[in-house]
C-alpha cells in the first residue's frame, strides 16, 4: 500500500516550516530596533518643536480679554491657552514666567497644566541655569594697580603669593555692579576677589565651585578661563534657577540635550529631558 504522505509533500512541508521560521526570526530582529528608532525620532522631533515654541512665544491667557502675562496670578495661569516663556523677543526669557513654573503647587503653573496646555505626548523635564559671564580682559602687574579705575589690592594673606599678572573686570548682578579681580598660581587662574567697588582690601579669594553671595542669592564660580592667548580674561558664574517637570524614573529611552537663550543680558542653559 502506498503511503498517504509522499516525499514531495514532506519536502514542501519542511520548506514551509523553514520559511515560517525565517520570517519569525527576521521580524524579531528588525521590529524592536525599528520600534526604538521610531520612538527616538518622535522624542527628538517633539522635543525640538516644543522647546522652540517655548523659546519663541510669550504665551497667552484668555482671562478678561486675554494677554501675554499668563504668569501674573492664579486666574491667568488657570486660563493659559498657550505657553511661552519669552519677554516678547525670541530666545529672550522672562524671569517672571520662569519663576511661575513649578512642578507641583496650586499657586504656580504646574506640570499637569503644562502637559494639558502644551498638549505633548511625552514626559518632560527642564533645568534652567543662569550663567553670567564676567569679562576680565584688563590686567595689571601685582603691586602696581591702575589709578583708573583706582584699585585697592586685597589685604588677604593669600594675595602676595599669586602670580604677577592680575586680571580685573566688572559685571551687573541683580541690578548691582560687582567688581572682580582674578588671580593665578603657577599660570593657572583659579581664584577671584569680589567687591561692590574697586576696593578689594577686605575681599577673600573664591575658587571654582565656591559661591558668591549677592543679596542672599548664591552664585557659583563655575570656571576660570585658562586656555591659551587670553588666560584670566573671563570667568563664569552659575545660578540654578529652576527644575520643572517629571522625574525620569526608570524610563528606558530618555533623550537629553541643551538649549540656550538670553535672560537679562546673560546666557541661560536649558537642559531638556524627554521620554
Amino acid at each position: 500500500m502506498k503511503g498517504q504522505i509522499n516525499i514531495e509533500f514532506l519536502a514542501s512541508a519542511m520548506l514551509y516550516l523553514i520559511a515560517l521560521g525565517a520570517v519569525v526570526t527576521a521580524s524579531s530582529a528588525v521590529l524592536p530596533a525599528y520600534s526604538q528608532e521610531t520612538q527616538k525620532a518622535e522624542l527628538n522631533l517633539e522635543s525640538r518643536s516644543t522647546t522652540f515654541k517655548l523659546l519663541t512665544d510669550q504665551g497667552r491667557h484668555s482671562f478678561s480679554g486675554g494677554g501675554t502675562n499668563w504668569e501674573r496670578n492664579n486666574t491667568t495661569r488657570d486660563a493659559t491657552t498657550s505657553l511661552g516663556i519669552t519677554n516678547g523677543e525670541d530666545f529672550h526669557l522672562d524671569r517672571g514666567k520662569i519663576n511661575a513654573l513649578r512642578t507641583v503647587g496650586e499657586n504656580y503653573f504646574n506640570y499637569s497644566q503644562f502637559r494639558e496646555v502644551v498638549d505633548v505626548d511625552n514626559q518632560y523635564k527642564f533645568n534652567f541655569t543662569w550663567t553670567p559671564i564676567v569679562h576680565t580682559e584688563e590686567s595689571f602687574t601685582k603691586g602696581k594697580p591702575p589709578t583708573s579705575p583706582n584699585i585697592d589690592e586685597p589685604s588677604h594673606p593669600a594675595y602676595p603669593s599669586v602670580d604677577n599678572e592680575v586680571h580685573y573686570g566688572s559685571t551687573t548682578i541683580a541690578g548691582q555692579n560687582y567688581r572682580f579681580l582674578v588671580t593665578a598660581r603657577n599660570s593657572i587662574y583659579n581664584a577671584t576677589y569680589v567687591s561692590s567697588g574697586w576696593d578689594f582690601s577686605n575681599a577673600v579669594p573664591l575658587g571654582e565651585s565656591e559661591t558668591l553671595n549677592v543679596y542672599g542669592t548664591e552664585y557659583r564660580i563655575t570656571r576660570f578661563q585658562n586656555k591659551d592667548d587670553d588666560r584670566g580674561a573671563l570667568l563664569l558664574l552659575g545660578k540654578h534657577l529652576k527644575t520643572f517637570g517629571a522625574d525620569t524614573g526608570e524610563a528606558s529611552t530618555v533623550i537629553k540635550f541643551n538649549r540656550y537663550a538670553v535672560m537679562e543680558g546673560e546666557p541661560v542653559r536649558i537642559g531638556v529631558w524627554t521620554w
Binding site: 527628538n44 525640538r48 592667548d229 588666560r231 540635550f257 541643551n258 546666557p267
Partner: protein, 587 residues
C-alpha cells in the same frame, strides 16, 4: 487529471522554495543604519549657543579682544563639556603678527660700554654691587643722555639684561626711563622736541658692547597700527633686523624702508634663496621712492612684477584716491576703521611705478591712485603718417583679398614701418577692404603685420589683419589699431596714416600691490613712497596696507574632526563696513 495536479504541485513547491530563499536573504540583511540623533541635538545646541552669545554681546567681545580661548571656555562650560568649538575669524586683520623692519647698515649701531665711576641712585637698589652697572658714559653722549645697564638677575636674559635711560638726574630713573629689556623700544634723549630725541630698539648688551637699531619711524608706526581698528584689538609685534643678522623666516611681514635697502635685498636675492623662501608664506612691504634706474639695476625689483612707467606726466599727481578693486576696498575698509579717509593722506607717488596686475602694463587694478594727475599715454602710441603706396602683387600672399586695391588704386594699399618698444621695427600693410567697388567708397581699412612685433613665444600678430578699432597686445602694452581717412587739415585719404594707440589707464598709482610675482613664488607685496617723517594720515594708510598684508583669517582652537558647522556674522558696534564672520566647527 492526476498529471495536472502533480504539475500544479511542482509549481507551488518551486514558488515556496524561491520565497524561502528570499526570506533568508531579507532576514539576514542588516537593518539600515539608525539616525544619528546626537548630531541632530548638537546642531540645535550649537545654533542656540552661537545665537545666544551674539545676543548677549559676548561674541562681539570675543571678536573685539581676540579671545578665541574665552570662546572655547564659555562653550565647554555652558554645554557642560558636551560641546567643543574651533573656528576661523574672517574679514578682520590677524593680530599678533610679527612685523620686521629692515635697517640699513648706517641705522645699526654698536657702541662701547664701560663700568661706571659711580651710580648712587635707583639702580644701586637693583644690583648687588656697583661693578654690575655699566654705561655709555665714556662715549660722547648721544642726544645728551647716558644709558646705564645692569644685571638684575631677572629671567629675561643672563648677564646684563636691563637698560635705563638717564634723563637729567644721574642714576635716578622714572618709570618712563626703564627698565627696558632686549627687544624693547626706548626713547634716547631728554627733550620733548622731536628733533632732539630718537627711538631705538635695544638689540643686545654684553660686558663691552651695546647694540641697537634706529627705530623712530617704527615706533611711530607701531603706535598708529596698534590702536584698535574699529574697536577691535590688532596688536602686531614690531622688530628691527639686519638681513645678515637674523632669520627673516620668523617674520610674517617684512618692511624695507628707503631705496638704499635694495642693495641689501639684491645681495640676499643673489647669494641665497632666503627672500624667495620667505615670500612663499610671508608678505613684503616696500616703503621706497623708486626710479627707472632702480628697475634697471635690481633684478629683485623686476622679479616682483612691478613695472616702471616710462612716460611723462600730462598732469602732476596730487592727493589720493582709493581704487574700487577688491584690494583697494579692503584697504579702504581698514583706513575707515582707523578713523581716516583718503583726504587725510599726503603720500606722494614715489616714482612712476605700476602694479601691472593686468596682462598689460598699466591695468585697472591698484590700491590707490593720485586724486588728480595722469600719464601722457600718447607717448606710447606707435605711429606712421607717411606710409607709401606699394605694388599689391608683391604682397599677394600676405594681404587679405579686396577689390579695392585691384588695378593699383592709389592709396588703397600702402606700407609703412612701425617701431615698438619690444625693440622691433616691423612692416605693416594698410589695406582698404571691400568685395565690390561700391563698398570701397566706405573706406574700411585694415592693418596687416608682415613681421611679428612680439618677441618669440608671444602672440604672433601676423596671423590676421586688424580692423580699425581692434585691440592687440605688443609686449606688455595693449593697443587699438587705428587707420585714418582724414584728420584736421591733413588729408589722409591715401592710406598715409595709421596708428597703434595705447589703451592703458593714464592714472598714476600711489600705492602698488602684487598678489603674485613674475620671478618667484609669493602672495603679497605692496609699495608706498618713503618720507623721512610721515603724517598721522600717512601712517594710517601704511597701517591699512600692513593689515592687508598680514591677512584677515585667524584660527582658534583645533578639533581633529567635527560633526557640526555653523557660522555667525555681525559688525562691532553695529558698524557694517567691517563685518566679521565666525566660521565654527563643533564637536
Amino acid at each position: 487529471m492526476v498529471e495536472k495536479r502533480k504539475g500544479i504541485g511542482y509549481v507551488l513547491e518551486a514558488i515556496a522554495a524561491v520565497m524561502t530563499l528570499l526570506l533568508f536573504a531579507v532576514g539576514n540583511s542588516p537593518a539600515p543604519p539608525a539616525q544619528d540623533w546626537s548630531t541632530f541635538q548638537e546642531e540645535i545646541s550649537a545654533n542656540d549657543l552661537g545665537y545666544t552669545l551674539k545676543q548677549t554681546g559676548d561674541l562681539e567681545d570675543f571678536v573685539r579682544d581676540r579671545e578665541g580661548g574665552s570662546f572655547q571656555t564659555v562653550t565647554e562650560e555652558l554645554s557642560s563639556g558636551r560641546l567643543s568649538v574651533a573656528g576661523t575669524l574672517e574679514n578682520i586683520p590677524k593680530d599678533d603678527s610679527n612685523v620686521g623692519f629692515h635697517v640699513l647698515k648706517r641705522q645699526h649701531h654698536e657702541t662701547d660700554v664701560d663700568a661706571v665711576s659711580s651710580c648712587e641712585g635707583d639702580l644701586a637698589d637693583e644690583v648687588e654691587n656697583q661693578s654690575e652697572i655699566i654705561s655709555t658714559e665714556k662715549e660722547p653722549p648721544r642726544h645728551e643722555t647716558e644709558l646705564y645697564f645692569a644685571k638684575t638677575g631677572n629671567d629675561v636674559a643672563e648677564g646684563y639684561d636691563t637698560l635705563y635711560v638717564d634723563n637729567e638726574t644721574p642714576c635716578q630713573f622714572s618709570s618712563a626711563e626703564g627698565p627696558f629689556y632686549p627687544g624693547d623700544f626706548f626713547k634716547w634723549g631728554n627733550s620733548t622736541n622731536p628733533d632732539e630725541y630718537e627711538f631705538y630698539q635695544f638689540k643686545n648688551i654684553t660686558d663691552t658692547t651695546f647694540t641697537f637699531n634706529n627705530a623712530t619711524q617704527v615706533v611711530r608706526l607701531k603706535k598708529t597700527v596698534n590702536r584698535r581698528l574699529n574697536g577691535i584689538e590688532t596688536d602686531q609685534s614690531f622688530n628691527t633686523f639686519r638681513l645678515s643678522d637674523e632669520d627673516i623666516q620668523n617674520y610674517d611681514t617684512i618692511v624695507f624702508k628707503q631705496s638704499d635697502a635694495l642693495d641689501d635685498i639684491q645681495n640676499e636675492f643673489d647669494s641665497n634663496d632666503n627672500i624667495e623662501k620667505y615670500a612663499e608664506d610671508g608678505s613684503i612691504l616696500l616703503l621706497m621712492n623708486l626710479t627707472e634706474s632702480d628697475f634697471n639695476s635690481y633684478s629683485f625689483l623686476r622679479a616682483t612684477g612691478l613695472k616702471w612707467v616710462d612716460l611723462d606726466h600730462e598732469e602732476a599727481p596730487s592727493g589720493l584716491r582709493l581704487d574700487n578693486s577688491q584690494v583697494g576696498e579692503t584697504v579702504q575698509k581698514y583706513l575707515r576703521g582707523m578713523d581716516a579717509r583718503a583726504s587725510d593722506v599726503s603720500l606722494p607717488t614715489g616714482g612712476n611705478v605700476s602694479s601691472s596686475n593686468a596682462p598689460t602694463i598699466i591695468g585697472d587694478k591698484s590700491i590707490a591712485y593720485g586724486q588728480s594727475g595722469s600719464y601722457k599715454v600718447t607717448q606710447w602710441n606707435v605711429t606712421n603718417f607717411s606710409m607709401e603706396q606699394v605694388d599689391p602683387d608683391a604682397y599677394s600672399s600676405d594681404a587679405p583679398e579686396s577689390e579695392c586695391y585691384q588695378n593699383s588704386k592709389t592709396g588703397n594699399f600702402t606700407l609703412g614701418e612701425f617701431t615698438f618698444d619690444t625693440g622691433k621695427t616691423v612692416k605693416v600693410l594698410n589695406i582698404k577692404l571691400g568685395d565690390t567697388h561700391d563698398y570701397c567708397s566706405k573706406n574700411v581699412r585694415a592693418l596687416k603685420f608682415l613681421e611679428n612685433p612680439n618677441l618669440p613665444g608671444k602672440e604672433d600678430l601676423t596671423e590676421k589683419p586688424y580692423l580699425n578699432g581692434e585691440r592687440l597686445t605688443v609686449g606688455n602694452k595693449s593697443f587699438v589699431a587705428r587707420t585714418y581717412t582724414q584728420s584736421g587739415n591733413n588729408n589722409f585719404d591715401n592710406g598715409e596714416a595709421a596708428e597703434f594707440i595705447f589703451t592703458g589707464e593714464d592714472d598714476i598709482e600711489t600705492v602698488n600691490y602684487r598678489e603674485s610675482f613674475e620671478g618667484f613664488r609669493g602672495e603679497r607685496l605692496a609699495r608706498l613712497a618713503y618720507k623721512p617723517r610721515y603724517s598721522d594720515g600717512d601712517r594710517k594708510m601704511i597701517g591699512s596696507v600692513l593689515y592687508w598684508l598680514v591677512g584677515d583669517r585667524s584660527n582658534f582652537g583645533s578639533l581633529e574632526s567635527s560633526t557640526t558647522s555653523t557660522y555667525l556674522i555681525g559688525g562691532i558696534d553695529q558698524n557694517t563696513f567691517m563685518p566679521y564672520k565666525y566660521s565654527l566647527r563643533w564637536k
